[in-house]
């Protein structure tokens, strides 16, 4: 399938149909996934997939059609169907497509070595991770999962208002989950590296040692008495705060009156130490791109600046509805989903204190190593935060013992307000990234 040709053919069919506005989104993916076990490939998967989606709007009524069936007759029927759906929908005055705008500058998201990195190199990377994990400590008994993935995605977005954007991007990832056992006790730990460029993947030594450290350092953990105490989120757990915050700055929730932060632009909503940014223009970062899923050029949005709420994230529809404008944050989960608001590279800006120093200055508190179920309570209207937690208990600035079987609970706004120190260890390794930070007080539920 030639994505450009297909999009032009669809656009021509839309124009011939007489509908007022139309948009074509074409996406083509090629992917590889390899799972390793006992130094041998256990599963090899190749995916070649693609398809298109059409948003057709007539008098603010919208029809959305998507298909992976690229036979001529099917393509024609898809356009007809979309027109029919739009005309049978009811009007929503915020339904409209985006106008063309000059593209952002260069944003590197494509590794042209993807075709030339030998398969053997990918396998040997996995083999090294496996070997290093078992060598890490005798307590590492099993590897639950060890896999490599890469993919290449080509996208075309075109609409009847003149938008025509085309791009290609690559993505690489390696993940490992290990099991540590000692005296009948079992713990697990995992690490994943993802990048736009093959060479930016973490080396096997870092993947292995990080995963094994997490699992082994939780062995011997015990619960805590129920209490209020400071909680330190590190780089592995801090993203949970950002994901909760995102629900409240998601323009769709704001526009629909569902966000606790709606109407609070300019207000102090967090500690002065908190600055949160979404930036799609960072070359090589996993969430970057030249334009968003509607063809709006990407940008950088300061969301919270020194604790003050500055902006929400919008796609075009939610921007219109909220009386604002798109921030270039339309996102699609593949061609089968309608655009929705998403973050690109969402991060909490780093501070000046080293993670070590943060621990040393904690009289007593919980250093969180892993969270479970933190995503279940995400609710833009209430901001309640509650999660299962594991980590290390800090006493007098030092690790006293591992902790398990506890919960942590608070409210996301209270938590952001109670950030009393921010670490200097921010790395943009995933789409949502946080440095180490400490929350002055949270409820810890144990016995």
């Amino acid at each position: 399938m030639d994505a450009e040709k297909l999009s032009k053919r669809l656009l021509a069919l839309i124009e011939a149909s007489g509908i007022a506005e139309g948009e074509v989104y074409v996406r083509k993916t090629r992917g590889l996934e390899v799972t390793l076990r006992d130094q041998d490939v256990e599963r090899l998967q190749n995916t070649d997939a693609g398809g298109f989606a059409l948003r057709l709007i007539d008098d603010h009524r919208m029809g959305f059609v998507h298909s992976s069936d690229l036979r001529d007759a099917s393509i024609e029927r898809a356009v007809e169907k979309g027109v029919d759906l739009a005309r049978n929908a009811t009007a929503d005055e915020f339904n409209s497509l985006v106008e063309p705008a000059p593209a952002a500058g260069k944003v590197e998201t494509y590794d042209d070595t993807i075709a030339s990195v030998e398969y053997e190199r990918k396998i040997s990377l996995l083999k090294d991770v496996e070997t290093l994990c078992f060598a890490y400590d005798p307590s590492i008994s099993k590897i639950a999962d060890l896999s490599y993935e890469d993919s290449e995605v080509e996208t075309v977005i075109a609409n009847t208002k003149g938008v025509f954007q085309q791009s290609s991007s690559t993505r690489f990832s390696v993940g490992v989950d290990v099991v540590a056992e000692r005296d009948g006790e079992v713990e697990s730990g995992g690490e994943r590296s993802e990048s736009r460029f093959f060479e930016d993947l973490d080396p096997p030594s870092r993947l292995a040692s990080r995963a094994c450290w997490k699992a082994t350092s939780l062995l011997g953990g015990k619960t805590l008495p129920t209490q209020n105490a400071p909680v330190i989120f590190n780089r592995d757990t801090g993203y949970a705060l950002l994901r909760h915050l995102f629900a409240m700055i998601d323009g769709r929730n704001v526009a629909d009156g569902l966000s606790l932060l709606g109407g609070r632009i300019g207000e102090q909503i967090a500690s002065p130490l908190v600055t949160v940014i979404d930036d799609a223009t960072i070359s090589g970062a996993i969430g970057s791109g030249r334009f968003d899923a509607e063809g709006t050029p990407s940008g950088r949005t300061v969301i919270v600046d020194g604790g003050t709420l500055r902006s929400f994230l919008f796609d075009s529809r939610s921007g219109r509805k909220a009386g604002s404008t798109t921030t270039g944050n339309a996102r699609r989960d593949g061609f089968r989903a309608l655009p929705a608001v998403g973050y690109t590279n969402l991060f909490l800006e780093g501070g000046t204190t080293s993670p070590d120093e943060i621990m040393k200055t904690t009289e007593s508190g919980l250093l969180l190593l892993s969270l479970a179920g933190w995503w279940m309570g995400i609710n833009a209207s209430t901001g309640d935060f509650s999660s299962g937690a594991k980590g290390l208990w800090i006493e007098g600035g030092e690790v006293a013992h591992p902790v398990k079987k506890v919960t942590i609970a608070s409210n996301i706004i209270d938590m952001l307000g109670a950030v009393d120190v921010v670490g200097d260890d921010l790395e943009l390794r995933h789409a949502a990234s946080s440095p180490t930070l400490r929350i002055g007080e949270m409820k810890i539920g144990g016995v």
Binding site: R43, A49, S68, D69, L85, A337, M376
Partner: protein, 494 residues
């Protein structure tokens, strides 16, 4: 980051991932015939291509999904969505290694090409025989009356709009409503080198109603989902009305909620809380983790894993439930599988690969998210059998604790058995009576431990729909009667 963790996602947006849509074409009907009458010789050619470099087994999976979705927010229809998804995947097994490749087509030539890609995993050793196909017929487990294909989109818009109207009319405190209505028909063909051939048609209807209630400075949300493997006959106005009213009630009733307590306390789970067993037990009994020896239930068949009150079943053959089907995505008939009987572990659930590796019988649990995904061991409808207690007796017998009326999603680490699940709607129990609503509770525990702490089981089983994630998403239900956990850690702020 959460790759190995398995979880049921019960939230609205994005829960039903990926697959497509509805009712495009008369082509569909023609392709359906083709699946039954034309394809077998071609599929044999595809399997031959997969086995060209050796290997022990090959299968081909063809799928077409036609889906319609109506999304409504703020009283307005945001979009009416239609999609068609059509493609195939070919798998080769060679010395327990899997090669898998897929394409967006049912064309013989394309399928042979991807079969060639899958065949690269072959470890040599002659070309195996391909058995003649024996076609298995429909079993009627997910039979439906009215195909959603045949219903105009305007009627589906009407259903969504009606849900919005009913929710708003419930109480003036209801300020925002979102409705998502989806129906689909999935048509699959499975054929393998052992001669199994299945064609199967699976309907699905799904509605979610999210509400926001505001009063004074307080706000709370409600969220209800209803789903079944049924046709449009299930999707009438009454169906929308019930979901809308319940969602609005939940939001309004929770407006006055205080903070849930924290710490270890007794919890009564209202009927429908089967997600507890899905997480605490089900994932650990999927044979892939057992085969890798990473599941905490490895090697424990025949041993006591819970109190006498605990009997747990996974059953993909219960008529028309969201987790049901005639045949799984490898062509194995669905069946009732007893996992735990009166506290004793009886067995695991398997797909073909794990059954062969562990010398067991396939149990009809080989499922995939779509043709782009290889089959894995997955749950279907997982439920705790009812006991003798009346729900009200269980509450009366509990001097203090929490009663959960609606659970949210859950998550489990299958290695340690540690699970977490969220609570949407809960109430304090004071002196054996249900008291004030509380919010913000998360329950954590350990699967094997919690099974031993269940000390009362009611007679009122209810099934709730969910979407289970394990790297791939599949529709499931989980069922349970009212039950009491003598003590469990609650992560509230109070």
């Amino acid at each position: 980051m959460m790759k190995r963790r398995d979880f049921v996602k019960l939230t609205a947006k994005g829960s039903i991932i990926a697959l497509g849509a509805p009712a495009l074409l008369d082509l569909v009907a023609r392709d359906k015939l083709a699946a039954a009458d034309v394809l077998p010789p071609e599929l044999k050619g595809v399997l031959k291509a997969a086995l060209a470099n050796g290997g022990q087994f090959a299968d081909v999976y063809l799928e077409q999904v036609d889906r319609t979705t109506v999304s409504l927010a703020g009283g307005k229809v945001e979009s009416v969505e239609c999609g068609i998804h059509r493609g195939g995947g070919v798998r080769l097994l060679s010395d327990w290694k899997t090669g898998y490749s897929s394409c967006d087509s049912w064309e013989e030539e394309e399928l042979k090409r991807v079969a060639g890609v899958a065949s690269q995993m072959a470890r040599g050793g002659g070309e195996p025989e391909i058995e003649d196909f024996t076609r298995k017929g429909e079993r009627g487990i997910v039979a439906y009356e009215i195909s959603p294909d045949e219903i105009e989109s305007a009627r589906k818009v009407e259903i969504a709009t009606h849900a919005d109207t009913i929710a708003r009319a419930y109480d003036p405190a209801i300020k925002q409503v979102r409705v998502n209505y989806t129906d689909e028909i999935k048509r699959i063909v499975v054929a393998n080198s052992d001669g199994v051939m299945v064609t199967h048609e699976v309907p699905l209807v799904w509605i979610t109603v999210s509400t926001l209630a505001q009063r004074d400075s307080k706000q709370q949300s409600g969220y209800i989902r209803r789903s079944a493997k049924r046709g449009f006959e299930y999707a009438g106005l009454a169906f929308a009305e019930e979901a809308a009213r319940e969602s609005a009630r939940q939001a309004v009733d929770m407006l006055e909620a205080g903070e849930a307590p924290g710490g270890e306390i007794p919890v009564v789970i209202g009927s429908g809380g089967g997600v507890v067993f899905h997480e605490a037990v089900g994932h650990g009994l999927e044979a892939d983790g057992v085969e890798r020896k990473t599941s905490f239930y490895t090697g424990m068949v025949g041993t006591r894993v819970g109190s006498d009150l605990i009997s747990i079943i996974d059953d993909g053959s219960i008529p028309n439930l969201r987790g049901s089907f005639d045949y799984d995505d490898e062509g194995t008939p669905s069946q009732e599988n007893v996992l735990i009987e009166n506290g004793i572990l009886k067995g695991y659930i398997y797909d073909l690969l794990t059954a062969w590796k562990l010398k067991a019988k396939p149990t009809g649990n080989g499922r995939r998210q779509s043709y782009m995904h290889y089959p894995m061991v997955r749950m279907t409808n997982t439920h705790l059998l009812p006991g003798d207690s009346k729900p009200e007796e269980i509450i009366e017998a509990t001097p203090n604790g929490i009663f959960t009326r609606h659970l949210g999603g859950g998550e489990v680490d299958t290695t340690t058995g540690d699970f977490t699940f969220g609570v949407r709607e809960a109430y304090l129990i004071e002196n054996g009576k249900i008291g004030a609503p509380v919010k913000g509770a998360t329950l954590i525990g350990n699967g094997p431990e919690i099974l031993k702490r269940i000390d009362m089981v009611g007679d009122d089983v209810d099934f709730w729909p969910g979407t289970c994630g394990k790297g791939q998403w599949v529709p499931v239900t989980s069922g349970a009667p009212t039950l009491r956990i003598a003590s469990i850690t609650v992560g509230g702020r109070g």
